[in-house]
Amino acid sequence: MVHLKINGSAQTFDGDPDMPLLWYLRDILGLTGTKYGCGMALCGSCTVLENGKAIRSCTKPMSALEGHEITTIEGISTHGPHTVQKAWAEANVPQCGYCQPGQIMQTVSLLSSKPHPSDQDIDDEMAGNICRCGTYQRIRAAIHAAAKETA
């Protein structure tokens, strides 16, 4: 039995301990904002926060999450859009949008540790998040805008 918090609410899980967090979120809790893209922590579509830091939920087994707090894309906007989401909309970042929840969660994590990231910081942090539509330039601009807003 695994006890954890998802977006602030206590949950228990007694299924296959090898099940990655991603599928628990999507198939069991119905939190489908977190996306499947590769299953190997290669693309970042599944990014969520574990105790405030970005992780790839597709390779994180449930057995490793006892007592941990998970925040998903659904959990950052309970009181209206998050600053990062607002910056995303302002820059009209998304094309297909499928990777964007992961990009946004990675950004939330980045800004929590580096409130004013340089271009190099952004490239380093975001290199694990693939956008096949190619919105990287707008993502970079939106991160700078969100950083400014947070200041």
Binding site: L42, A127, C131, R132, Q137
Partner: protein, 760 residues
Amino acid sequence: MITVENVTRRSFLQGAFSAGALVLCATKSPFLTKAAASGTITNVSPGMMMGSVPTIDATTFHPGVFLGIQPDGTVLIVAHRTEMGNGVRTSLPRIIADELDADWSRVKVIQGDGDERYGSQDTDGSHSVREFFDTLREAGATARLMLIRAAAQQWGVPEAQCVADPPHVVSHKPTNRTIGYGELAAMAAKQPVPKKEDVKLKQPSEWRYIGKPAPGYDVTDVCAGKSLYGMDVRLDGMLYAAIAHPPVLGGKVKSVDDSSALQVKGVKKTIPIDPFTPPHQFQPLGGVAVIADNTWSAFKGRDKLKIDWDNGGNASYTSADYKKELQETARQPGKAVHTNGDPDAEFAKGGKIIEAEYYAPHLAHASMEPPVATADVQADKVTVWSPTQNPVGVKEEIAKALGMKKEQVTCHVTFLGGGFGRKSKPDYAVEAAVLSKKTGKPVKVVWSREEDIKFDYFHSVAAMYIKAAVDENGMPKAWLQRSVFPPISSTFDKDAVYGSDGEMSLGWNVIPFDVPNFRSENGKAQYHVRIGWLRSVANIYHAFAVQTFANELAYAAGRDPYDYLLALIGPGKTIEADQPKEVNGKYPYDTVRLRRVAEMAADKAGWGKKKPGNGWGMGIAVHRSFLTYVASVVEVEVDGGGTVRIPRVTTVLDAGIVVNPDMVRNQFQGAAVFGTSLTRTGEITATKGVIDQSNFHDYQVARMNDAPVHVDVHIVESTAPPAGVGEPGVPPMAPAICNAIYAATGKRVRELPLTRNGFA
């Protein structure tokens, strides 16, 4: 011809519209007949209003565009095209809203289901705006006039004194009265549809939304993770399926041991899926499905299947050997596609001959959302939720596979997590339907990334050969080009070995250069994997060869590549293009426009201001595709280890009238990244029929730290009819990058990707 009809009294979209709504439909078809229908709107997701656009009982009815005005003033527009990042759920409604003088914040978009009566819903070929621009405008303008007439009637004033200004109300300025669209809807609905000659379309100077940048209609929901993608569909009692597909195309299961798979917690059973009957078309590939109560268990169970396969004839396919075959074919005379003048006579004269061979490998689409679909098959009907570019195809293929009528199949179109052409092929939706029928439950089929990469409808590999005879100034007097690739038509005809007219029209049958003697040819190639269309299709390899060769000729002539390119294009003219007559009339191939984008791109990029060499250089390429003229200048920095950095791409496009410039910029920025991916690392290979790549570690696509840093997109102001914008940004990228690398390093890239040339 466009016809607009008032369908308020025909109970269209019942459930969507309130009593007292005005509902119009517009169509290009001349066969309008009476229509009656009923249906309900179901809201299955907070993020996306899913339309159950009704079944219509008159078979010849083709409602291309639906527009309704509710008594509360809400304007409902049915989007019958697919949203996959192309922005159609924003651009198409904005065209209507503009002519309607609607308040954009009061427009709601409903996603239309698959219905052949819309006409083609295939969202590919970059044609959504260009195909529907006129129809949407006329629908909007017609509704506006009906509202004005209703107001004039109510007030008892001349129609000419009433205007739709400010938006969403009709005003009578002389008496300073206004009335809202919602209040007018019921009365407007009683108006006869105005005569065509009475409907006045706006002048471009009066446009409110067309040509003005707008954020995506769905942007807030998308960023909140609320939009419903195919991957996100959940139905009560739904089962999940993962499929072990035959490793080689055409392979069959000899035997299967599923005992370990069945021991996986959550796995319910395994089900064989029949192999296809050639040609493979959009049929499932066959294999063994693992049915489970969640995706993870299905994946895990699939990985534990022990299957002995009969691989069949395509097990002979090893791409390294096949490459040599294609190259050899490209060296031999092929089938003439297009000829101007007498190139053979010119070549026979001797003189300076320049020739080169080019090669580009298979590519996979690798959209971020792999193929996925959910189907619920019942005795007399099928409901399917699919991320699809081709919802009517989904209906047809499922009906065929289950022995039902396509009218019994409802296809709800979800958001697509990328498509790029892969999601025009509904094989995965058919799998869901077949498995739902066999289990008696709703089934969601989820392809893993590995399945997606290995079992794609691949962009074809191509070998090309080009030869030119040049005069004393280095200008070509004769030009011969030959391309060889397994054609897309092999997906539909197992004997197809030549490129279709369509493929040859994608940058090969004609070139935009002033060459008096020209012939393009095509050689035979046998397919061994499924071949399909991928964003910009054959333009990718054709533009790579032609635009690289033009660059090679420039250096052979000792000239600046940009100056030489302009000389090749010449002053510009309308050239004879092998495109349909109706297209030629509206969209002549005008190299004046091509020259202009080249000049602008060079100017904006600062061409010629810095001397290339020592690891720095610029490259230029031009290409017209999907009726849009594009020039891209790419700047590269290449370090001693061969790592290529792209600080800037400057793209200029002339796509005629542009509806949403910000979305168009986004498309071209994205196309530059897509083009960088395929140039740098894009390569699918096969060994004994099995695809060697499987995920993003060995099929790499551009990431933020290796994508172009800046992509500056400039849109030529134009009053020409709208052209395509989703794909045309891709083709110039490979040659522009490779030409830049030559300028920087002196190393010529004639084979993609860069990783095959010592670059990374």
